[in-house]
Amino acid sequence: MQKMISKIAPRFPLFIWMGFMIVALAFIIGFFNSQTAAAYFSESKAIRETTLLAERAAVESTNLWLPYFKFLGLGMVLGGIVMALRVILDNLMQTGGKVLANLPADKRPAMPNPPWYGRLMPIVMMLGMLVFIIALIVALQLASQARSVFANPLPAIDAAGAGTALLAQVQNIHATSAWLVPFKFFGIATEFLAIAMGLGTIAYVLKAQTEMLKNGVQMSRSSKKQEVEPESVSAQAPAGETVTA
């Protein structure tokens, strides 16, 4: 699975671009929705509530699904950032591997394994995307319900009594919106967690590689000292005497 993720990750600009396009599209839809709302509220209350039903339904239903569509776009941008971090990580690991490959096999130190949160990062990112997709699907369902509610004149909606289908739909819209708003923030939190994991892994790998480099320098210096010391000792020792290390 990690190999497959490494293959997909370099396509992160496409992901970021798609996310940006979704957010831009949400802005355009929002602009047209505001125009519909302006036209709706320019009429008198009596006309608004009895004849302009389609306009009201369009405004209310768009207000229900548009924020979740926007958040899906933002989630894709954040997901793209996570994929970019994965590319940086893969490159760091590959470069480290190439440098180590130059050493003889017996002197080659083991490559440090990436920490557990580094492996988990793409999964957390995908979980965040799943949250955004679920939120959008639920919001679309609510929007279609809002359309059918606001197809009725406002006085009829207000008069709906306990146990009626109309009141049940109103109840469902309010009740679902109550948890759906924090749910989309849960998706944002999941994406941010993936970014934090990626950055933490990059910091870990950079530190581990620097330590390895420093150890290599120390090993090289100490082995040179060992080479020089026996030579100088044997130069001072009289002929016939053996030098013990």
Binding site: I157, A162, Q171, A178, L180, P182, A189, F192, L193, G200
Partner: protein, 119 residues
Amino acid sequence: MNANEKPYQMKVFPVLTVLGWILIGLALIIGLVVLTPTAVNYFGANSKEVRDAAEAGSQLLGQISLLASIPLWLEPLTFLGVAFFICGIALEFSVIPSLVKMRGDAMAQAFPILVKSGK
């Protein structure tokens, strides 16, 4: 910064990440456990006429005041959670320059050895 010691940013960022999770998780739980059942009771069992006629101190008015007031602080709370996450990420970013500098120092030490061994 010593290569063996952990920079303070790397110690603080997990705390900020966990705090962000707690706040956003709390907002989700409040939405699920408090707001949703209240909205179900308020909108589901009463027509608008009944809701509008609710007297001060009635259960219905208590429910609508809850539905109107909680989201006013709940949304800023979720943003506070997001801010914790962003601060944690900023701290992680701030540690990268010093790590790159350490790597540069190590490279500076390694290069003379590499050049000598090349001869």
